[in-house]
Subunit: 319 residues, 2 copies
């Protein structure tokens, strides 16, 4: 049973509503709210042992669990280029979790909301015998028909990414800043044709854009912005650094398409502290998704990336 | 560590947003969306061993788990008198859960949405070592400033309840129909002053209305609509039937206040198949919350009801 086949079955069963213009299978759903604006709507969860551990090496502080739970949902709101308005959280805790732990987790959750001027509008708490789980639902608002989707890239478009990639398990996956401000700036520049956030890894998330847009892509390996953590993780895991950059996931950076004409404008006008890198371009679908090595050879993009139901716990991801 | 103290701490930490007119601590949050309408926003979850069991007596079918998860969130949208538009679900499953189980759970989830013309707008699936958990977030739409809240009841108002109470664990808790249609009818009649849905039991949820409205109440025991299940559960558990009616919870009926003048009108004009009963009236806060026995004696309302973190599993609820 794979996550993607289950999600596909879930989508096939999902009824629609006249106002829901974008349903399951995107970074966030879009609800046509009124003549001049839409709502983005997303649910996401973090699970102990899958998205964080509480003991041993790399253990998350309670505040980090709350922060990450909200930041992941916010990252999806950013991916469609909307502004977060409110979140609600459903928390499941084990009986041995202390009140202090729970309160510190709430603090992290609230801190992330506060940073982006977003409300915590509701919550639910259950005691379970299982892992600590925090499901967060987020509502955002944006212009009518203006959500950035995974579809919309065309051959010839340039491929950009924010920030630096790889090695997020070294710690960044617990403290990353969702790219709300960067998505806002991109909207104001009016250049985005298709966008997603990188949660499963560059290779897997680029494939989502290509599949939805019906295009192929070429990524220039030499152009990829490699995080310092990626080098450290590669050294430690005795893995090629590019495997970390392309497949580690949990980068929560924005990956997007810009027309060839707008690409130069974007590079010139980008004025945010977060790095912005042009890493390739889109091509016809038949060409597939390709990786151009520094030596000039071209290979199919490796199929690396994270699928939750294939790994039993986070320990596997560290090997 | 009690659920209510944790929820209180959660609320104290919750940042606000200028558009969020009603935050945590209500049946659903309310977001001021545009000049003429508001959004209701709710997250709620069902947890194996707390809200359903999968083995032994009273085991839920997979479809029932999905149905209940959505129906609980819908009940909260009904409680504020809004129309459901979309839900999103975060599902956590154990590794021994089969694909067939998951698909049947999705079917139940989708069926409940379809029944109320509501979309499934998103989903998230995680594999965990713990209990099956389904968190559902719902978005509803209603008139600007028109959400029914727990506050708004005044002394002299009549207290009404839909349906019949008690004994839902006999099976109704897995298959109940959220009172969306009844809430819509009540809105069209224009009579509701304060409303909630009964999830923790009549005694506990009436207390919520009284606390928020700053009033007391008198409930006439003889008027209470007793479900057939309540008699069965009372017999089985060797408990007084009134304990089942007042404290069992999971009735998911609407409990609401109507002015004395409108009470007669409502009784006369009520044309829905679901029973509607006037069960008491609101009084000054100083009088407290009272139960008027059939023999004419008056006692304080017993403090029965369900608090999730106080019970280790559902088995406790059956005793």
């Amino acid at each position: 049973m794979s996550e993607s086949s289950l999600l596909k079955a879930f989508r096939e069963r999902a009824p629609g509503h006249p106002w829901v213009s974008i349903g399951p299978g995107h970074d966030a759903a879009v609800i046509e709210w009124k003549a001049d604006n839409d709502a983005a709507f997303k649910i996401d969860s973090v699970v102990e042992g899958v998205h964080f551990v509480l003991n041993g090496e790399g253990a998350a502080a309670p505040e980090q669990v709350g922060w990450k739970a909200v930041a992941r949902a916010m990252s999806d709101i950013a991916a469609v280029g909307f502004e977060p308005v409110a979140v609600a959280a459903a928390v499941a805790i084990r009986s041995d979790i202390t009140e202090d732990f729970a309160l510190r987790m709430f603090d992290g959750l609230a801190d992330c909301c506060r940073r982006f001027g977003c409300a915590v509008a509701g919550g639910d708490i259950s005691a379970t015998g299982g892992p600590v789980t925090v499901a967060v639902s987020a509502v955002g608002r944006g212009p009518r028909g203006g959500a950035f989707l995974r579809k919309g890239a065309t051959p010839g478009d340039a491929l950009f990414v924010t920030g630096e990639l790889g090695g997020s398990l070294a710690g960044r996956h617990l403290s990353f800043v969702p790219r709300i401000a960067e998505a806002r700036r991109l909207r104001s520049l009016g250049v985005v044709r298709a966008m997603t956030d990188i949660s499963d890894g560059l290779a897997a998330d680029l494939r989502h854009i290509c599949d939805e847009s019906g295009v192929g892509a070429v990524v220039e390996e030499a152009a990829l912005p490699v995080s310092a953590d990626a080098y450290a993780q590669a050294l430690r895991g005795k893995r090629p650094v590019m495997e970390c950059v392309l497949g580690d996931g949990e980068d929560y950076e924005l990956l997007f398409a810009v027309s060839g004409r707008d690409a130069a404008k974007l590079t010139k006008e980008w004025d945010m502290p977060v790095r912005l890198t042009r890493i390739g371009w889109f091509v016809a679908r038949e060409k597939g998704i390709l990786l151009c090595r520094p030596d000039g050879t071209v290979t199919p993009m490796p199929t690396v990336g994270y699928e939750h139901l294939r790994r039993s716990d986070m320990g596997d991801r560290r090997k």
